[in-house]
C-alpha cells in the first residue's frame, strides 16, 4: 500500500463548484484508493461531493491531495491532470 501526497492548484476559474466536484468524485471513485483533500483549514473525503463543495475552493486555491491504496500512483496522476484543466476541458 502506498501513500502519495501532492499539492495542486485549482486551475478552473470558477473553482470546484457542483459540476467539477461531481466529475472529480466520478474520477477518483474508479480507483481503489482513499482520497483526502486539505485546503489548509479542513480535510475532507475526496469521494464525497459534499465534502469537496464544503472546501469552497475557488480558482487558484492551493490544495493538498493525499491518496492511499494499491492504485495510488495512477489515482494521483489522474488528480493532477484534473486540477490542471479548465472546466471546458474536463470530462
Amino acid at each position: 500500500m502506498s501513500k502519495i501526497e501532492k499539492e495542486v492548484t485549482v486551475a478552473n476559474k470558477k473553482g470546484l463548484h457542483a459540476r467539477p466536484a461531481a466529475l472529480f468524485v466520478g474520477l477518483v471513485e474508479k480507483f481503489d484508493v482513499t482520497v483526502t483533500i486539505n485546503n489548509g483549514k479542513e480535510t475532507v473525503n475526496g469521494k464525497s461531493i459534499m465534502g469537496i463543495l464544503m472546501l469552497g475552493a475557488a480558482g487558484g486555491t492551493l490544495l493538498k491531495i493525499t491518496v492511499e491504496g494499491s492504485q495510488a500512483p495512477e489515482a494521483m496522476m489522474a488528480c493532477e491532470k484534473f486540477f490542471s484543466q479548465q472546466e471546458e476541458e474536463l470530462g
Binding site: L16, M50, G56
Partner: protein
C-alpha cells in the same frame, strides 16, 4: 437533570406546565420525533427508500432536460445524484438515527442544515450559492420521508403540548385553533407578534424573543411557562413545580371572580359606558365572544378564510362565513375587515412578489384596489350577509381620502349590481376605516367626513409612527405604545372623529392592557376591541374607575416627555383611582 431558566419577552399571560413539542420550520415543518430502539433499522430502511425515490425522480428530470435542452444542461443533476450517494452524508444520517433515536426526516434535515451553514461561510460567492442546490435536493428527500399532507399544516399535533418554534406564521395559527395547546415559546418576535395574538385568543401563555429556545429545549422536555414574567423553566425541580401550581391556582380563582362580571356592563363609576368588543379570526371562534361577555365583534379578520388553501374562497363560502358570524353575535354587531393580505400574511392562491420591506409594501387595501376581481367577490359576500344581521365593513391601511374614495367606488359598483340582480343587502351598512398609517392621522379630519367610524389599529400605527419593525426582536424594545408621539397620534384621531360626530374604537393590543386602556378611556375612546380572553380584565378596570379621573390622567400624561414617564404616571393614577 438540572433546572434551566430562559428569559424572553412576555407575550401572553398565564402559567402552563406540560411536555414540549419542537416545530422545526424552514420551507418544511420537520417535527423532532423520537423513535424506539427497535425501530432504528426500519427507520434507516425508510431513509434509504426515500433516497432511492428522490434519485429516481432526479433521473426522470435529468432525461427530460437532456432531451429538451441538451445534455450540458442536465449535468447539474449528476451532482445532485452524487449528493444522494455521498458516503459522508449518508453515514451521518444513519449514525445520527442510531445515536439520537430521532426520526429520519429530523436527522436528515439537521445534517443538511449543517452542510448549508458551512456553505454559507464560503467566501467565494459563486461557490457559496451551492447551498441552494443542497436545499433543493433535501426537499426532494423530505417529501418522501414525510406524509405530504403533514408538511404544511399542524393538524397532526397532539393535545396538551407546549409549542416551541422559531416563529409562528399567521397561517400556522389557523391549525392551532382547533387544538388544545398549553402555551407557545418562540425564538423571535415581540409583544405584538402573531404568536402573541394567537396565544391571547386561545387564552394560553406565550413567551417570545427567546433567541435559541428551539435549540435549548428538546422534544418532550418538562417545561413551565411563566407568561407574566416571560420566563421558561426547563426540567423544573419539584419545588419550582409546586410554587407554580400554587400560582396557577390563584390565577384560576381570580379568573373565576372575573367571570362574575360577564353580564355586567363596562361602565365607569361615574356612568360612562364603553363598548367592549372582541377581535375574531375564525367564524368557529365566535362562542368565546359570548363566553367573555363581548358586546359584538369589533374586528373580524377575514384573511384567515384565504389561508392554508390553494384556491380563493368563493363568494358563497365567504357569504356563509360572514352570515354565520353576524347571526351568532346578534343582537350585537360585527365589523368585518376587508382582506388584509401582505405584510406578514400570505396566501397560496395569489402570488405576491417578495418585498424588501413587506410592511411598507404591497398589502391590505393597496392590494385590493389593484385586484378588484378579488375585492369585488369579498364585497359582494359581505353585502349579501348584511341582510342577515348587523354588519359594518372596514378597510385596512387607508392612508388618505383618495384610497377611501377608490375603495368606495368599487363598493358602489358592487351595490349597483346587487340592486340590478334584486339581491337584498343593508343599504345603510356602515363603512369604517382602520387608522393605522400616520398619514391617515394627519388627514383624519377629511377622512372623518367620509367614513362612518374610525378604528385605530394600534399595532401598525405604533410600528409606523416609531418606524419600528414589530417582528424584529432587535428593535422590539423600541416598540413603545406609551411613547408621547404615539399618544399624540391617537389623541388627534379621536378629536378629529368626535368633531365630525363619528365614534372611535381601538382594536390593537393596547386595548387589552389595563393601564393603556385606562389612558385610552381618558382620551375619549368609545369602543375597545381585543382578544376575547382579555375583555373581563378590562371590564373590571373600567368598572372600578371614574371617567373624570381617567380624563385628568390622560390630559397630564400627554404633557409628559417620555414613554417611561407616561407608563409610571398612568400606572400610579390607575392604582389611586381604582383603589387597588
Amino acid at each position: 437533570m438540572n433546572e434551566i431558566v430562559l428569559k424572553g419577552i412576555p407575550a401572553a399571560p398565564g402559567i402552563a406546565y406540560g411536555p414540549s413539542f419542537i416545530l422545526d420550520k424552514g420551507d418544511f415543518i420537520v417535527p423532532k420525533r423520537l423513535i424506539a430502539a427497535l425501530e432504528v433499522d426500519s427507520e434507516i430502511a425508510r431513509f434509504e427508500e426515500a433516497i432511492h425515490n428522490a434519485q429516481r425522480e432526479i433521473h426522470v428530470l435529468k432525461d427530460k432536460i437532456a432531451q429538451n435542452m441538451g445534455p450540458g444542461h442536465a449535468q447539474i443533476f449528476d451532482a445532485h445524484l452524487l449528493v444522494l450517494e455521498d458516503v459522508v452524508l449518508l453515514d451521518q444520517v444513519t449514525c445520527g438515527i442510531r445515536d439520537t433515536k430521532a426520526s429520519a426526516e429530523y436527522v436528515f434535515s439537521n445534517v443538511i442544515r449543517k452542510f448549508v451553514e458551512a456553505f454559507t461561510k464560503i467566501p467565494d460567492e459563486y461557490l457559496r450559492e451551492r447551498a441552494t442546490d443542497v436545499n433543493d435536493i433535501s426537499k426532494r428527500v423530505l417529501k418522501y420521508l414525510m406524509d405530504e399532507s403533514k408538511l404544511h399544516d399542524l393538524d397532526s399535533l397532539q393535545d396538551d403540548l407546549i409549542i416551541v418554534a422559531h416563529d409562528l406564521s399567521p397561517s400556522d395559527a389557523v391549525s392551532m385553533y382547533n387544538k388544545k395547546i398549553k402555551g407557545f415559546l418562540t425564538d423571535i418576535g415581540g409583544r405584538t407578534s402573531h404568536t402573541a395574538i394567537i396565544a391571547k385568543s386561545l387564552g394560553v401563555p406565550a413567551v417570545v424573543g427567546l433567541k435559541d429556545a428551539t435549540l435549548r429545549i428538546n422534544n418532550q422536555d418538562d417545561v413551565i411557562i411563566d407568561g407574566e414574567k416571560g420566563l421558561v423553566i426547563i426540567n423544573p425541580s419539584v419545588g419550582t413545580k409546586e410554587l407554580y401550581m400554587k400560582e396557577q391556582n390563584k390565577i384560576t380563582i381570580s379568573l373565576r371572580k372575573l367571570d362574575d362580571l360577564k353580564d355586567l356592563p363596562a361602565e365607569t363609576l361615574d356612568g360612562k359606558r364603553i363598548a367592549l368588543l372582541a377581535n375574531l379570526e375564525l367564524a368557529g371562534e365566535i362562542s368565546t365572544v359570548r363566553k367573555y361577555g363581548g358586546e359584538g365583534v369589533g374586528l373580524y379578520r377575514t384573511e384567515f378564510l384565504y389561508m392554508n388553501r390553494l384556491d380563493l374562497p368563493s363568494e358563497e363560502e365567504q357569504y356563509k362565513a360572514y352570515r354565520q358570524v353576524a347571526e351568532a353575535v346578534a343582537p350585537f354587531a360585527v365589523t368585518i375587515r376587508t382582506l388584509d393580505l401582505g405584510g406578514d400574511k400570505f396566501i397560496s392562491s395569489v402570488q405576491i412578489p417578495k418585498d424588501m420591506s413587506p410592511f411598507l409594501g404591497y398589502r391590505a387595501v393597496r392590494f385590493c384596489l389593484e385586484r378588484p376581481d378579488i375585492f369585488q367577490i369579498q364585497l359582494r359576500a359581505i353585502l349579501r350577509a348584511s341582510a342577515h344581521g348587523r354588519i359594518s365593513m372596514m378597510y385596512p391601511m387607508i392612508s388618505g381620502l383618495a384610497q377611501l374614495r377608490g375603495a368606495n367606488a368599487i363598493l358602489n359598483q358592487v351595490k349597483a349590481t346587487l340592486r340590478d340582480e334584486k339581491i337584498p343587502f343593508d343599504e345603510k351598512m356602515k363603512v369604517d376605516i382602520m387608522v393605522e398609517v400616520p398619514a391617515a392621522v394627519m388627514t383624519a379630519e377629511d377622512l372623518a367626513r367620509e367614513a362612518d367610524f374610525f378604528s385605530i389599529g394600534t399595532n401598525d400605527l405604533i410600528q409606523y409612527t416609531l418606524a419600528v419593525d414589530r417582528v424584529n426582536e432587535k428593535t422590539a424594545h423600541l416598540y413603545e405604545p406609551a411613547h408621547p408621539g404615539v399618544l399624540k397620534m391617537i389623541q388627534k384621531t379621536i378629536d378629529a372623529a368626535h368633531n365630525e360626530g363619528i365614534p372611535v374604537a381601538v382594536c390593537g393590543e393596547m386595548a387589552s392592557d389595563a393601564m393603556l386602556a385606562f389612558l385610552l378611556l381618558g382620551m375619549g375612546i368609545d369602543e375597545l376591541s381585543m382578544s376575547p380572553a382579555g375583555m373581563l380584565t378590562i371590564k373590571k378596570m373600567i368598572r372600578s374607575v371614574k371617567l373624570q379621573d381617567a380624563q385628568r390622567t390622560a390630559y397630564e400624561a400627554l404633557q409628559l416627555a417620555t414613554g417611561q414617564e407616561v407608563e409610571e404616571f398612568v400606572s400610579s393614577q390607575l392604582r389611586q383611582s381604582s383603589g387597588v
